[in-house]
Amino acid sequence: MTVARIASLIALALLIFTPLFLKNFYIFQMTQWMIYAIAVLALNILTGGSGQFSLGQSAFYAVGAYTAAIMMEHMGVNYVFTLPVAGVICFIFGFLFGLPALRLSGIYLALATFALAVAMPQLLKLHFFEHWTGGVQGLVIIKPDPPEFLKSMGLKVSQDMWLYYFTLVVALAIYFASTNLLASRSGRAMMAIRDNQIAANAMGVNVSLYKTLAFGISAGITGVAGALGAIAVAFVAPDSYTINLAIALFLGMVIGGVGWLPGSLAGAAFIVFVPNIAESISKGLSGAVFGVILIIIIFLVPHGARQVAYTAQHLISRIWKSS
């Protein structure tokens, strides 16, 4: 058993059992954490996997969220089915966005994705769509109840707890699918593109296809995260999906270690918990404290949680070997 495998099992055990001992509000925070981990993972596939930079993930998140909300509120669809629909719609959206984005790279792609992120809240507020989106006020969603079979088993499960485990299962499924993707031929094609696009092209990799696919997949996964977010919070509104969310997801990716899927969990933890910590340290200077914590982290571990993990693994292996 390698160090990494043991660590993963411990982490999994913690994720499964901790909520049983927590109050609903903290379970809700853990759900939020899982949801952001999914979104950060999506960004890791895009940037770490195919080398494309995106500051626009909040737009896909928003589309996923609104898809779920509209389906649940206006069409009465069960929340479970909103996830795949959100995923597919966002995949298409991401793929379509990826097409013109093929001509852009680096700073120009950043700007284009940034534009998308900035535009999205405004589009959601548009009068034209108000009937569906609820305009500036957004939509309230009815939080789903845990399924009947649990009650019949005598288990008292709160809505938050049920949603947490539901999210956890989805997150694990996405995680395993993504790991497989990156290890597959397609994943290697994407990474070849990331490392040297010209060489990849010369080797016969269909660069355009894989780049747009990467965008599509990343957007699709982010959309699923958005849908889960909408369900968990029971509410969608345009101003919940601003550029700040996109920036937060970006930071999550960097803190976790770009391209390292397990790091998404660490990165998401940073975005969910550190702002609160910053505010408790100093209300007036919460932004500054946040910035300082961020700087300290990137100074100590520029390669993020991945660096921490590898260093720890190295240390533990050495201790084992010498004992």
Binding site: A115, V118, I198, L251, S286, G291, I295, P302
Partner: protein, 292 residues
């Protein structure tokens, strides 16, 4: 027709704001090959320093150069303390650094000078320019200073040795070292200059948008967009980009129905992205030719 001309002129005046910011953006890009997301906040902070100096009784024409010097020094200091130590860390980590800087500066400014809007004086006055109702003397002054800055920067980069050295250091640091250039100090110099230009931009913009910690948020975005539109290697492009964005934004707001203030920014950005897709180096930029 008259409405059109009015809107174009009004667009040129707002465009001057973006052009000024775009110059600072291009400056930093020429020095370090990335965009500094905290540029706007640094400019805002410099403007607050100017404000504070004037509160303490320093006359405007002393405040201006003093603020420039302080901003220059501040830019160098931030680079030495924060970004030099990050050194060879991946680009994305530097970006995280810019974001952190943004958060810190914004927060500190808010705490020091609070979040209420303040008036900021202009040396040009606010009278109608040459009797025209469309451009005030301040706006004309802003356009004038922006062009002056542009000319100075152009001369600096194209005709001075330090300018050439800076361009080389940003383009290919290892080769630059091999011709004897101290790349590290070129980067610090670039930061100082960008900070100074940002200060000028802030001081010119504040009389129009009013001084408060969040004043540069929107302006920075437009500044980036203008710089990218114009081509990041070209200060002239940045300025032209600024004016074009200003004019376009105004015309869109006037002539396309249903476009209120909220949609102006996304539409302007959409235009820019469209241009980039068609002309990836920007309107006036040079795309580096890559021979494999």
């Amino acid at each position: 027709m008259e409405l059109f001309v009015n809107q174009v002129l009004a667009g040129i005046s707002t465009g001057a704001i973006y052009a000024c910011m775009a110059l600072a953006v291009v400056m930093i890009y020429q020095a370090i090959d990335h965009l500094n997301f905290a540029q706007g906040e640094m400019a805002m902070f410099s403007t607050f320093i100017a404000f504070q100096l004037m509160q303490w009784g320093v006359p405007y024409w002393w405040t201006f150069p003093l603020t420039l010097i302080i901003s220059f020094a501040g830019g160098v200091a931030i680079e030495r303390a924060l970004f030099k130590p990050l050194g060879n860390a991946p680009v994305l980590v530097h970006v995280a650094g810019f974001i952190a800087l943004f958060a810190i500066i914004n927060s500190v400014a808010g705490l020091t000078w609070d979040w209420t809007i303040k008036q900021f004086p202009t040396p040009f006055g606010n009278a109608p320019f040459l009797g025209s109702q469309l451009i005030s003397t301040h706006q004309a002054g802003m356009i004038g200073i922006t062009f002056l800055l542009l000319v100075l920067l152009f001369i600096f980069f194209r005709f001075t040795r330090v300018g050439l050295a800076m361009r080389a250091a940003a383009a290919l640091p290892e080769s630059a070292k091999l011709v004897g250039i101290n790349v590290s100090w070129m980067i610090a110099l670039g930061w100082g200059m960008a900070s100074g230009i940002g200060a000028i931009a802030g001081i010119l913009i504040a009389p129009v948008v009013f001084l408060e910690p969040n004043m540069m948020g929107g302006v920075l975005v437009y500044g980036f967009a203008s710089a990218v539109l114009g081509g990041l290697s070209s200060p002239f492009g940045a300025v032209m980009g600024g004016f074009l964005v200003g004019v376009f934004e105004n015309l869109v707001g006037t002539y396309i129905p249903g476009v209120g203030n909220e949609l102006k920014l996304p539409i302007a950005l959409a235009l820019i992205v469209t241009v980039l897709v068609l002309k990836p180096g920007g309107l006036f930029g040079r795309v580096a030719q890559q021979r494999v």
